[in-house]
């Protein structure tokens, strides 16, 4: 159960933790997230030494390997600024699993101090930045896939929706069984390819059945999975990270 979190006032500076998938596959989503925050007057710091939260190894059982990577991340974010992460999955790892991960390593105070500063991007935009969005885009039909970790671990499914609802020209459509996992699950997609294929195909069917023009998600793992499958099927529906989508629809400078 996601705990009820108390949010601090709008800070002057934040750290941005981009995640490894964003870094290599969806940099525009990371950039959009940072630009959204900067536009509202908060300085965004992007530590160049960040790499990955360590989740892939952690979820594969390789705890020592994961811990070493996680320790390196801790060192990248020394100041007491909020750490904003454009992924429910990686934010969940850093907020909820790091404390367990570091249980025996003697870094407990340090890790707790770190973990409580971690916010998922939409959570940060809604509760701390209290962002006010002006939709500049044309009318569009949108389907939203909220990742399992965003929904259940971080409890930010409502924040995803709240942001999209701020966009006046966006019609949010609801797919059947929207709370069901898309079948990504990190290495699961490779270790259980047949089940994963079945899940992603069901998910894609539910999404295309809504008639949406675009699929939005707050997690790049899901986007890579569902988007990759939609692409493979040659579906016309586009896929976008929620940060990119919001930025594209509210950025006045490029219009």
């Amino acid at each position: 159960m996601p705990e009820k979190k108390r949010y601090p006032a709008k800070p002057e500076k934040i750290y941005f933790f981009a995640t490894c998938l964003v870094d290599l596959l969806y940099p525009e989503a990371g950039l959009a997230g940072m630009q959204l925050i900067r536009r509202d007057g908060v300085e965004v710091v992007f530590p160049q030494d960040q790499t990955c939260c360590g989740q892939p190894a952690w979820n594969s059982g390789y705890r020592d390997e994961a811990l070493q990577v996680a320790q390196r991340q801790l060192a990248c974010f020394p100041e007491d600024y909020p750490i904003v992460v454009p992924s429910g999955s990686c934010a969940g790892m850093m907020r909820h699993h790091y404390p367990r991960m570091f249980q025996e390593s003697g870094d407990r105070d340090r890790v707790n101090q770190f973990s409580t500063r971690v916010y998922e991007l939409t959570e940060f935009l809604v509760h701390i930045l209290r962002i006010d969005l002006k939709d500049l885009g044309p009318p569009i039909k949108v389907a939203l896939h909220t990742s399992c970790s965003a929904r259940r671990e971080m409890g930010v499914g409502g924040e995803h929706e709240a942001l999209l609802e701020q966009l006046s020209n966006v019609e949010l459509l609801e797919q059947a069984r929207k709370q069901e996992c898309c079948g990504f699950g990190g290495t699961f997609a490779v270790k259980q390819p047949a089940i994963s294929a079945e899940m992603v195909s069901d998910k894609a069917n539910a999404i295309t059945a809504t008639g949406a023009d675009i699929l939005v998600s707050g997690d790049c793992g899901c986007l890579m999975n569902i988007g990759g499958h939609l692409d493979y099927r040659d579906e016309s529906i586009e896929c976008r990270h929620i940060a990119s989508f919001i930025w594209e629809r509210t950025d006045a400078t490029e219009r």
Binding site: P47, A57, G61, Y62, C181, K191, P193, I195, A197, Y232
Partner: protein, 472 residues
């Protein structure tokens, strides 16, 4: 136990079965909707789940004391208590009781522990007939199949398949695929067995230590039949099913039936505290309670994995599991399938036998979200994945390190090294972006149903610097 190659074969078979897929999907959708309708108030549900978790945790924290108290109360009430280290010992205790009464027919209520014991096969090999009386279990016994769900055992079968089966086994009864007619046929056949059976067997949903009471939850009345009509009643239970007080029963009962099938309560809640007392006109003259360990005390040794034993067997984790919904219970090849089975069974049978199960999960958390006693199933799956590849053998789970493969371990070591050396990481990622057009990115099995991942032209590290985002 089934090696992993079989696991994959069973998965493929299940996925190829369109009928199974449709049956499971509609059954699971129905069960999820019923549960949801039964818990309209989210805060109330969370309070109740917290209470349920607390009751189960409290019971486990005092387990040895409570088992002794339960035993003493039962003996005071006239119930005979037996302890079994393993399945074989438990089976032999049942056999001994059957023999001491010269009983040739055992009629069974639904019991997952008796499935764990493979009791039917054991007794039949000793010339004793075992008959399942729960409608679903009876159907499966006719079909020669194990249950595929712990609450709705025949959920994978269609009405027509069941009608065919009845027609094959009872050619004298006219064919019908009408559910009421099929149910009436089963009632007629089994009634005679209840009448005749020398011994009845049941499981236990909760065993109450303070009063020596065995609680049974059911809808059909077969559980009451098995525990009331034959002259001897044997109850089999895992040692973890004990609860401290009677006042703990109402909240657990409420959680159990609502989580399982979305019923506010089942038709019968049957609380047995003694054999027939002098003057009473019915009920068994003898009641036996068999307490089975079979690996549970080993699970108990680990402070985190012990949470597995909180389970009250509602099956909600299965109903909400996207994997279970795709492959059904038989694919798991274990007594208890689904998320709870994937943490429980590998601990009992060893990770060397069932280590694939904890890996076959997306860790989506739907199971933990609905678990009425808040078992952190994904956390425990993750823990077992660790146990499966760790090499220090410092722990209590069987088969530690058995899933470690050199190739995989080396890959993660390399991955770790790269990701803790930021300069190297940046260089490597930049290289990947530059070489994206010639890198072999069409890797199996990802691209079997997906387009190749699209690598960006520039990493975010580079773009952030270019866009003027500071490093500190």
């Amino acid at each position: 136990m089934q090696p992993s190659a079989d696991f994959h074969t069973r998965i493929e078979q299940a996925l190829d079965n369109a009928q199974l897929k449709a049956s499971l999907r509609s059954a699971m959708d129905g069960l999820m909707a019923s549960r949801k309708a039964c818990f309209p108030d989210a805060d109330e549900l969370e309070t109740l789940r917290l209470r349920g978790a607390q009751i189960r945790a409290n019971s486990l924290s005092k387990l040895p004391q409570l088992l002794q108290q339960l035993e003493q109360r039962c003996i005071d009430n006239g119930i005979q208590v037996h302890w079994a280290e393993n399945v074989d010992a438990a089976n032999r205790i049942v056999l001994q009781i059957m023999r001491s009464h010269q009983a040739g027919l055992l009629i069974k209520g639904k019991s997952m522990v008796s499935e764990e014991m493979d009791l039917n096969r054991f007794l039949e090999s000793h010339g004793i007939e075992c008959l399942e009386s729960d409608l679903g279990e009876y159907i499966l016994q006719l079909a020669g199949e194990p249950p595929s769900h712990i609450v709705a055992p025949a959920i994978h079968k269609t009405r027509q398949e069941i009608a065919q089966l009845f027609n094959e086994k009872f050619p004298d009864i006219p064919y019908s695929d009408d559910v009421d007619t099929l149910t009436r046929s089963a009632r007629g056949i089994l009634r005679e067995k209840f009448y005749r059976a020398g011994v009845g067997l049941s499981g236990v949903n909760f065993a109450v230590a303070e009063s020596g009471t065995l609680c049974l939850v059911e809808n059909e009345g077969n559980g009451r039949m098995c525990t009331t009509v034959p002259p001897v009643h044997i109850a089999v239970t895992g040692i973890e099913k004990v609860v401290e007080k009677l006042e703990h029963v109402p909240p657990l009962l409420k959680l159990l039936t609502r989580s399982a099938t979305g019923q506010p309560i089942t038709t019968y809640f049957n609380m047995i505290s003694s054999p027939r007392k002098p003057g009473e006109k019915d009920g068994p003259e003898e009641v036996h309670l068999i307490l089975l360990d079979n690996g549970r005390s080993r699970i108990y040794e680990d402070n985190e994995l012990v949470n597995t034993l909180r389970c009250i067997r509602c099956g909600a984790c299965m109903n909400h599991c996207p994997i279970y919904t795709r492959i059904g219970g038989h694919a798991y090849g274990t007594t208890i399938p689904g998320p709870i089975g994937s943490i429980l069974e590998p601990q009992k049978a060893g990770l060397d036998n069932l280590g694939e199960l904890p890996v076959a999960s997306t860790l989506c958390g739907a199971c933990a979200e609905v678990c009425p006693v808040r078992i952190p199933i994904p956390t425990l799956l993750n823990r077992l994945r660790y146990e499966r590849v760790r090499t220090d053998y410092d722990g209590t789970t069987h088969g530690q390190g058995s899933g470690r493969r050199l190739m995989e371990a080396t890959t993660w070591k390399g991955w770790s090294w790269l990701h803790r050396n930021p300069a190297l990481y940046r260089l490597a990622m930049t290289l990947v972006t530059r070489l994206r057009k010639i890198l072999p990115l069409g890797f199996e099995p990802w691209t079997r149903v997906r387009a190749r991942p699209r690598i960006a032209a520039k990493t975010l590290h580079e773009q952030a610097r270019e866009e003027g985002f500071n490093d500190r």
